[in-house]
Symmetry: C2
Subunit: 342 residues, 2 copies
């Protein structure tokens, strides 16, 4: 029996207090992170295992969060498949030559597991040692659809027209692309578990761009393949999406011990749609972390009330911590969640 309440909640076992951690808890809202970023470009932080571990540990020195998440990025997976990622300051990352044709898909490699972000695998090994069993360490990867969108659009997108264009116009190339991505992501998550990750989260942040029927036909089988491979490692697996309130049963059908939900649906309603045979993670609006404390406390209390003390709730935001978030609010929220009845 694990003593970690985060891992126990993933398995819907009773806990003494509701576990809490935050997506992007290692990141720009922390002054000590910003200080590091003044000295190193982001990809140097990610690709230097010692620095990635330092960033991973930063939030743990301040907050009693119940899990660490390895500081890493979803795009090195695409690099390992042969794409070139360029970081333009102030604009975010971009793919230098986006995948637009069947020939582009053809040229993508499916790398050996040890070739995929080896620096992150090494950071996981180091972080496990540094953590000394204090809290569990979460590994993660981008889901095939979110990675495909990045690869095809070349960066963030509003309407995903190139991605949907490939899906509808060149379905064979689309399925080949998703096949290669899911094989790569599955191997990568398994390698993270071997390196020591004690839970794995699959981020499909952009799945909400799709209709339920398109998700089912063009995405679900590939997410399922990845989630099944991840679960085969025996560590709990979190399946996170945003904007999918209209297709949570599909998201749950793809798999995951824990389903992560955003704030666009009430937690109890989301859990009912997902099914109570899964744990649930969420679902505070990250913007509420910028609110005055009474409002923040009220909304966090409402989420705990809707979780109803049912085993299997992990408190988190509905998406990542925003850079403008006051550190003090995060501190108070962690204490509040731990102080409330589970």
């Amino acid at each position: 029996m694990t003593p970690f309440r985060f891992l126990r909640a993933c398995r819907r076992e009773p806990v003494d207090r509701t576990p809490v951690w935050f997506m992007r808890q290692a990141g720009r809202f922390l002054p000590e992170y910003r200080a590091l970023r003044e000295r190193y470009p982001i990809m140097e932080l990610i690709k230097t295992p010692e620095l990635a571990v330092e960033v991973t540990l930063q939030p743990l020195r301040r907050f009693e969060v119940d899990a660490a998440i390895i500081f890493a990025d979803i795009l090195p997976v695409l690099e390992s498949m042969g794409l070139e990622v360029a970081f333009v300051r102030g604009e975010g990352p971009a793919i230098r030559e986006p995948v637009r044709t069947p020939g582009d898909v053809e040229r993508l490699r499916v790398p050996a597991p040890e070739e995929i972000a080896p620096f992150t695998l090494e950071a996981i090994r180091l972080a496990r040692r540094e953590l000394e069993g204090r809290v569990p360490l979460i590994g993660f990867a981008g889901a095939p659809f979110t990675l495909a969108s990045y690869a095809v659009e070349g960066g963030a997108s509003r309407h995903y027209l190139h991605t949907k264009g490939l899906m509808y116009g060149e379905p064979k190339a689309w399925h080949d692309l998703m096949d290669k991505l899911s094989a790569t992501v599955a191997a990568y998550l398994q390698a993270q578990a071997r390196a020591g990750a004690q839970a794995l989260q699959l981020f499909d942040s952009w799945a909400g761009a799709l209709s339920p029927a398109d998700y089912e036909r063009f995405v679900l089988p590939y997410s399922r393949r990845v989630l099944e491979a991840a679960r085969a490692t025996a560590v709990p697996v979190i399946h996170f999406t945003t904007g999918t309130a209209g297709m949570l049963p599909h998201v749950a059908a793809a798999g995951g011990d824990v389903i992560g939900v955003d704030w666009r649906i009430a937690l109890d309603e989301a859990w009912a749609r997902v099914g109570h045979d899964r744990a649930i993670q969420g679902n505070l609006d990250p913007a509420v972390l910028l609110a005055p404390w009474p409002e923040l406390r009220r909304q966090a209390g409402e989420i705990l009330r809707r979780a109803g003390g049912r085993p299997g709730h992990i408190f988190n935001l509905g998406h990542g911590v925003l850079p403008q978030t006051p550190v003090e609010n995060v501190q108070r929220l962690v204490d509040f969640v731990h102080g409330a009845e589970p």
Copy 2:
């Protein structure tokens, strides 16, 4: 009894064929619109009634759509309240001095009905004459929340942090702002009906940024006030939102004879959540209009199948026509919807 199948469907009366029209059917995907735009800035098209009528009629010369929608913009309402809107080419409109403080809210005027976009009211009168009863004419306005977001952020936004900051941090100012906006929008929609609009659509395109609880507390009462005022004119009212699959019952509770839904939820599921005592409008992904015809036909057919021939379905997209849309696909889709069993 009205002979117009669009108006009949709004009232859930039986129709001979499923009515169809498109948000942004008068717009950039039409070469004749782009030709006009080469000669006139967009606000000149909107603020010159004869030109606005010309743009309104353009799609009707090509397609057998079942409704016209007046060519107008949601921002002149904010101008009539005392804000200055600047159009920067290629970047979209921006509010020169966004509403950020209680004092800023205080300074906003509630204009008399005839002061709100009088050019649009005149365009409605002219368009009714030109249409000669061919199809009904829809008037519209932005909903209080979407207008508030524009006024507070100053333009489009990713996280709505200023808007939510005002909501959570200065709730009195927020409610004052929504009070002024809803009074103005209500008067504007009523003026449009008096000018001849035969249906009214309220666009709350950004409501999906909110949690259901925040929508209920900070938005719903104001949308309800507007929708009730609009319904008092006796013309049918369409309430349109996007990204709200997790709170459709709240959207329906705010009001509207017809609820417009995006593509992030299956039509039959959306209708069940809205309640079958309302008509429903939607819900094709606008990106599918760029797909090869067999895929487009398949997805349109699936929507009609899910509508199940129940009276009260108006075929439309889940959001506006994209500028890259092939004109031919729109033509074929209209014919397909009209050819299918209702």
